[in-house]
Amino acid sequence: MSASYVASIDQGTTSTRCLLFDHAGRMVSVAQHEHHQHYPRPGWAEHDAAEIWANTLRVLPEALALAGLQPSDVAAVGIANQRETTVVWDRATGRPVAPAITWQDTRTADLVAELGRSAAAPLFEEVCGLTPAGYFAAPRLRWLLDHVPGLQRRARLGEVAFGTMESWLIWNLTGGPDGGVHVTDVTNASRTMLMDIHTLQWDQRLLDALDVPAAMLPEIRPNAQVYGTCTVGLPGVVIGGAFGDQQAALFGQTCFDEGEAKCTYGTGAFLLMNTGASVTPSTHGLLSTVAYALEGEQPVYATEGSIAVAGALVQWFRDSLEMISSAPEIETLARRVEDNGGCYIVPAFAGLFAPRWQADARGVVVGLTSYVTRGHLARAVLEATAWQTCEVVEAVDLDTSLTLSRLRVDGGMTANHLLMQTVADVLDVPVERPLVAESVSLGAAYAAGLAVGFWPDLDVLRGTWRRAALWEPSMSPVVRRRERAAWDRAVQRTLHWVVDEDPDAAPPG
């Protein structure tokens, strides 16, 4: 076989990257360009889809050049993308009709609240497995249909196309106005609120509830399948797969079996556990989502818990409290002391997320005595991420009756050994980090490679996973129980802080 590499496009929130992997799953090249973040109003967050496409066209040849390769050396390309970011474009001109509304944008909060109160709310939960919430794609699409003049009519006539970022890139890579393929994958589609999570098809009742014309929707495809052939960027190379970023990381970490889980630690943290062939509706604040679907096979599902503030708390400690000058220094500071000195920090900066979902909570620092130093505060910052992980894992246990036996981790915070040891300690399971840190890109590359036979099956992929580090739990059960109880008491103190429906109001003295 002449083509000995697989390419991966990672279309993320801040940048677009191209990575190349060899047959052993090792990264051989990476190129990256950042794009602008637009915040035209408070709570709004937009991207220019045309800029992202232009960056994609730059990173592809750059990654090839860095490794000294030609497009003919690439067997297939896969795409992983920021989830739920919504773009609508003109099929004839190829131009976006409006700025892309990103997953961080909160302009649809009222629309979603209204939907949550409507008669259709239970239908959404039953069909797509999601409780209507602002961060899914369909409310953003509804907003565009309402606010871009003439868009609803043009959508009905099929003149414009909707997609999340993978759809936009695939359509452009395969020719754009000149024969571009308009598809999405099951994991991205499962985050729109419009797909039946069981049949993996758009559901007309949900489309009707939001008045979304079917003519503008992409076709839903499995994650590993040849969608088309690139006419630009990587001319002649087939597009073999696409994934939402968190599902891509689950796949890249080779969590193919029921009960296997990964957690990606970045600004926030996302824990996904493979739940096998069954959709598990959550009664504990988690989401059911599609983990992956291979061509001709039954889909595999996952349950997902998100932690809003993980690395963001370290950034706050650095930038707002000015306790450290760089994020990694928190480990140095925390290691100056033996324990948290009785201090706990609960970062409910915008309320509590999974599994508690308490919007009226706000962050607390508790247990302060004259004994507490900034070293203890540093410990409390790191422990907050560990205990939040623990709460999500406990919710997963309750929802799925699957017990986590080990946790695979990735993301920038895995460079912090003290944090990873603490996660292992509070979960009481081994925590392991893979040698290829780029789990998101690797997952998309795996899908593309599977589609063209570059890798034959999941067992071979599992065999490429390499452990770079392992943290074994070493906390005594007595200490774990005591610390767990203290964390719970700290969380109790965050509740009902916001009163009078005014998020900035102080409580009555």
Partner: protein
């Protein structure tokens, strides 16, 4: 004793920038120091190169750089680790060996990062492990490149290595830019290490750590007993790559 004029003028520039609490334009600096603009420009350019002065990209004005404030501080070991993580992983993936990153702690080497040998075998994380300066590859590299420790210090710490052979080993490491040690810490295991250096301007800077690979001696060493050339190239290249990340604003 005659003073060196350029150093004296550089100190004057720093004093002025330290006294004025906002960035200063070149013309203003020249006026305050009563020196011609080209002379002042040469001095501030050099001070920018070594990180003692920064230039605002928008206005072109000059201010004291962070390099001056951090002069007395060592590089944070965990910051060093975070800069090295990706390169250490890549080194382990390409060589198939375990990777160690060590810094100086007192008069020993402390491992601040460790990547497993990527063969799936059970291994234990060795972060926090201490190694002797004089008999480990990481230690020899630190002795050769870190100004914070000397061979005599290693001897005072109770190292039994004869003075002459240690001096020779350190000298060799300095000349080669790497050190290799066979079977001193673990029987049958050889370690090859290169320095992580914090650059100042265009010149090579001071050693702040050591990055190395460890493996079975017959995979690290060639038939001659010398380390394999390709392995030396890979370790030195990875250490160099990490060093270049330290040049950026920390």
């Amino acid at each position: 004793m005659a003073t060196i004029q350029s150093i004296e003028r550089a100190a004057a520039v720093l004093h002025v920038l330290g006294a004025v609490h906002e960035p200063v334009a070149l013309g203003e600096l020249s006026r305050l120091l009563d020196l011609p603009k080209p002379t002042v420009h040469g001095i501030v350019r050099t001070l920018c190169e070594v990180g003692f002065v920064t230039q605002e990209p928008d206005t072109g004005r000059y201010a004291l750089g962070s390099g001056l404030a951090t002069l007395g501080e060592g590089l944070d070991p965990h910051l060093l680790r975070s800069r090295a993580v990706n390169w250490a992983d890549g080194l382990a993936a390409r060589t198939g060996m375990e990777v160690e990153l060590g810094v100086l702690t007192g008069r020993t080497v402390e491992l601040v990062h460790h990547v497993f040998r990527p063969d799936g075998s059970p291994q234990r994380l060795r972060v926090g492990e201490l190694q002797p300066l004089a008999t480990s590859a990481l230690g020899l590299v630190l002795l050769a490149f870190s100004p914070a420790v000397s061979a005599s210090a290693a001897r005072e710490a109770g190292d039994p290595t004869p003075r002459v052979s240690l001096a020779r080993a350190v000298q060799l490491a300095r000349r080669q830019g790497w050190a290799c040690v066979d079977s001193t810490l673990r029987p049958g295991v050889a370690t090859l290490a290169a320095p992580l250096r914090r650059h100042l301007g265009h010149r090579l800077g001071v050693g702040v750590g050591a990055l190395g690979v460890s493996g079975p001696r017959d995979r690290v060493l060639g038939p001659s007993g010398e380390p394999r050339d390709d392995l030396v190239t890979q370790v030195v290249a990875a250490a160099h790559a990490v060093s270049s990340t330290l040049q950026e604003r920390l």
